[in-house]
Symmetry: C2
């Protein structure tokens, strides 16, 4: 079979630089248009804009008081106060009002003593001052803020609210802005169908793949100031692709050809584009994102973006967004960087830079990075990520605990409110996060699923704020306490989240008639297991031991999943005949459920975090009616002890003293 | 005169907390609406959204290769390779395609040896493998990314491009979002006129003030997810204000009453609102922003926002935006904070928190903060600011060089490309900034005007990258060199920016017939001077000395301005009859210009910055044709030596060795 060969893979920065050079991108001039200020928010100035009028437009009072001619007051002193007649030598004035003709200073109200005298015709007011005014004191002078003809804003400014105000103050009501760059997006691939037309049965059979990259791209382009047009899906045929690109190039400034998902589709792309112009790069040394094709056709940029969304995202961020920024003379998008400690090792293949998305939490003084799924197709890793770790091409990766640089995808400040839960998976954690955000938008619960024991280990290393755990001690039949005593040094609070029913999930209709754990050893029954260190695995092993069943007798014992929901999905898809999981997972996917037992699912929370605002907010939610009701609706949960502190562990040192 | 008394001024955080409590803001529920994904960018989810389908929807190949039933391959080994017939026991498969019925593993292409054999009817293909496949190897399993019913995104999520992708992958095409909060803006003030209706002569006479706060507010509200309606301007009359607020409250979720500029207008506001409901705060302990009024009327929030734009901005940021965020269950907006060193002292009045806007530059390892004009009306300070310094209410301010905390208004990364110029003012610096940004969008030139000598002092303290200077040594008649030798320790490059004509600016038509410096001493001639330490002031003093004229004989010698343009504005406005400035300033405002001499305006650049990318980019622009031509168009400049290194200073230590 023909294999794609990437002979000379350039690092992304170098590929981008060469592409921009081949394009002569810095010389390209977007058209301009005039935008009224009311329609100019976030438009980008195409040239410097100068003030048409000075601001303020007149000499005005900067204080409430009396306006005077300073030279008239030079004789005033405490010993010899000066009397000025209001309406003649002095004039009441409020802040912001223009100085009357002949005046060049303001005396603050606080320094004016008022005398009222019955004059020949009416009452007369006299202002008495004990200090000379110097010229232009307390006057906001004409042009103090800006003088007509001065530049208010430079080109490349993305107009924010205050910029609009500054322009208005300078008398500028219409501004020259770059016209939006026009980007045409061509989705390709023979099995690709528009999102709204995807039929469930075709999707399940793999006959159709819903097209949603163009939705992501259009949104990215809109946020970068461009205007995207999504063209009809083109099949994986060179002639069809060529025609579509040629047609798009007639109007667009930039054409994005989104490759099909088939292995050779980026070769099609490169082949077609070679025939239409120059290919700057066929493949880039970055994972995900490798099969990106950069080309110039008809003097315009064409980019072949890989089909998988994570790869596609990197191609967009590395090549399309910087080009749109350059065209609009804007700073290339750049992200804030911080140091974080990964909670797991991050192995990587040398020779290729790798971008790994992570969740982040500030635990004490440490920012902890929890790696998300790596697959190029893992679209949830895009939406869940708080940051990106770049593992350089010459590296084999990073060890757990070794600090790495992380590019932030959310404002740094937003991290402060994130409670990081590492440990056992339970669906109620997602529910808890939603309710917490609703009640306290400044907080959120970020959870990573590594099993109960993994959670206790993360707590021990100081890498999370709390851990979900349901570890049965086979000897005593008691949950969690022994594992905490065996593994943790610091004092913790054990808080009951839920009691939950564990049981066997089977295929719809339970065709194999599975009735309990003992049936898992029957020939022809394929099991799907949870990973080592998970409480569910401990429960299974405990039951197997009591039944005297060796794990080796269970087909699929080594087939591991990391969450209850993935166990349920494995059973639903027919990959396995049975799995052990919580009832809520069975209910969610409509699978039969054979109860095995009720277990205690607790949160283990170090004392030092317990009194913090975030944990207290979480506690309030856990103890609230909304959480209880929603949990009960999920089925398979007991909430009698929900929110109760079931045990307090004094820690190792206390235990020894 | 009645003085406003602020009896109990609360700090802004406390005022906000009380207002939210009076409003019961956390309990307020915005309505919801369904948004199709194509219209959902940056809308905010009103509830958690769960996946409607699993993704991937089928078990698919994660590698190119052959799909097999793993159990069929268990006998394969290097010693005893296994042959599988393609089309029967093994199937070619590309990445992403669904596994054929009966298959549960993929063997990578690299591990497959292909044999072609002439069979009875046609050529037969056989795959030969030397290693067993384990079940589910190289398979992207159904639900690996998300399982139907799992929560994709929590409420309060502002939907970004990748979020739209994750929702689409989960089969969700419409999402529940908060309806946009409705905000009505009522501009008030008897002299206020809509922006487009402001007539030049009325503005200059102070009879009309253009209304542009509503433009700023509307943009801020739009960016915060709300929808603003700007109502007609209301005069400063309690009854009119009451009626307008009452009408607005019928439909709006929040009413912003923008106070007039007159002194008592916030008292009107507070008085009117007391009659309509509860006033939580009449005045807040923050400068600018003090005259803010927070109220609840008809159960809804009403805020009286001060008239000056800087005060208004703070009221919006402190009260309106957090309320809109809370309603949408979003994180309150928070800014990244860094440490910076102010280049000037920042005095402040105790008893009142002060917010001071600053420009920022990274000079070596130090972030330097240059304070912008403080006035509540200085709208350019809003658009030019890179950050905000908060001077606490119990502080009398900060000393120069003493680090302060700065809230960033631009991404940290954008600061890296800013060259900070502190020193003499020249209009060509703004031009240079525009051309630099156009040629190299990653760089910009930020300049602060403190006069030539102030610039050298800033260089000496390591607080800027370069300084514009035109300091004449009266003894030798040579520019800049002596001042550099006297003041700087480190090696610097002296680069000619421009030669420029200095001269006297007079009122249009030169009614006083001013012909030269000597005329400034004539009775009845009012002069406007530049500040001490400026090169222009040095030039004036030099000329006065040569003429034997004592400064005391010049009226207005002590009336100081900081820029050429402000001198020109002072003359144009009639505040002075003459000033000394560059010809370009006279040309800009159309004033007569009487030449006094040509001087050398240089950039002083430390050696250690000279070779850097940013300075080199600046040099390229200075030496380019575009800069030269634009400078010549301004008039009064010579560009013969522009871009030339006119002198190199070896520094103090080198001089001593």
């Amino acid at each position: 079979m023909k294999r794609t060969t990437y002979l000379t893979l350039l690092p992304p920065e170098e590929a981008r630089a060469r592409w921009f050079k081949d394009l002569d991108a810095a010389a390209f001039t977007l058209g301009e248009e005039q935008a009224p200020l009311t329609k100019a928010l976030r438009r980008v100035l195409s040239r410097p804009v100068a003030a048409l009028r000075s601001s303020p437009a007149f000499h005005g009072a900067a204080m409430d008081g009396i306006a005077v001619h300073a030279e008239d007051t030079f004789s005033a002193s405490a010993r010899k106060p000066l009397r000025l007649k209001i309406g003649a030598e002095a004039h009441w004035i409020n802040t912001g009002r223009p100085l009357p003709q002949g005046c060049n200073a303001v005396v603050m109200m606080e320094h004016v003593h008022l005398e009222c005298v019955q004059g020949p015709h009416a009452e007369e007011q006299w202002a008495v001052i004990e200090k000379a005014a110097f010229p232009w004191q307390h006057v906001r002078k004409m042009g103090e803020d800006m003088v007509a003809t001065e530049i208010i804003l430079p080109p490349g400014t993305s107009l924010g609210p205050y910029d609009l105000g500054a322009l208005a103050a300078g008398g500028v009501l219409d501004v020259p802005v770059f016209r939006r760059p026009w980007v045409s997006i061509i989705p390709s691939g023979s099995e690709i169908v528009p999102l709204a037309e995807a039929r469930e049965e075709d999707l399940r059979a793999g006959r159709a793949l819903p097209e949603f990259n163009s939705l992501i791209f259009s949104a990215m382009i809109a946020e970068a100031g461009g205007e995207a047009a999504v063209l009809p899906v083109v099949p994986d045929e060179p002639a069809a692709i060529r025609d579509a690109v040629a047609a798009a190039l007639e109007t667009a400034d930039l054409v994005i050809l989104n490759a099909g998902s088939s292995a050779g589709s980026h070769d099609f792309t490169a082949h077609v584009l070679e025939g239409m112009g120059t290919v700057t790069a066929h493949g880039v040394a970055v994972m995900p994102g490798k099969p990106t094709v950069l080309a110039v056709a008809g003097g315009k940029p064409v980019i072949g973006v890989p089909g998988y969304p994570v790869s596609a995202g990197i191609a967009m961020e590395e090549f399309v967004l910087p080009l749109l920024a350059l065209w609009q003379r804007r700073c290339p998008p750049e992200r804030e960087k911080i140091r974080a400690v990964p909670c797991n090792p991050l192995p990587s293949r040398p020779g290729m830079e790798e971008r790994l998305r992570v969740k982040l939490g500030c635990v004490g003084d440490t920012v902890v990075a929890v790696p998300l799924a790596r697959g190029a197709g893992a679209v949830t890793s895009l939406s869940r990520a708080d940051g990106i770790v770049r593992i350089p091409r010459d590296s084999e990766g990073c060890n757990a605990g070794e600090p790495v640089e992380v590019e932030l995808l959310r404002p740094h400040a937003a991290l402060a409110g994130a409670l990081l839960a590492i440990g056992s998976h339970d669906n109620t954690l997602d529910l808890l996060d939603s309710l917490l955000r609703k009640a306290h938008p400044q907080f959120r619960l970020t959870s990573a699923h590594v099993g109960s024991l993994g959670g206790l280990m993360a707590l021990k290393r100081g890498q999370c704020h709390l851990a979900g755990s349901h570890l049965l001690d086979p000897a005593s039949g008691v949950y969690n306490r022994k594992a905490i005593e065996d593994n943790l040094d610091e004092p913790v609070v054990l808080l009951r989240l839920v009691d939950r029913e564990q049981g066997l999930l089977t295929a719809p209709g339970n065709p194999l008639g599975i009735a309990g754990i003992e049936d898992l050893a029957r020939p022809g029954v394929r099991f799907v297991n949870r990973q080592r260190g998970s409480g569910t695995r401990v429960l299974l092993d405990y039951r197997l031991e009591r039944l005297g069943l060796a794990p080796g007798r269970i087909s699929g014992y080594c087939d591991e999943e990391y969450t209850h929901m993935n166990v349920a999905a494995a059973v639903l898809s027919g990959r396995a005949d049975a799995g052990l999981a919580v009832r809520a997972a069975a209910n969610a996917l409509g699978l039969p459920f054979i109860p095995v037992g009720v277990e205690e699912y607790d949160l283990v929370i170090p004392r030092r975090f317990f009194a913090g605002d975030a944990v207290q907010a979480l506690l309030e939610v856990i103890r609230g009616a909304a959480f209880r009701q929603a949990v009960e609706r999920m089925g398979g949960y007991g909430t009698e002890k929900t929110g109760q502190i079931v045990w307090e562990y004094a820690g190792k040192r206390a235990g020894l003293s």
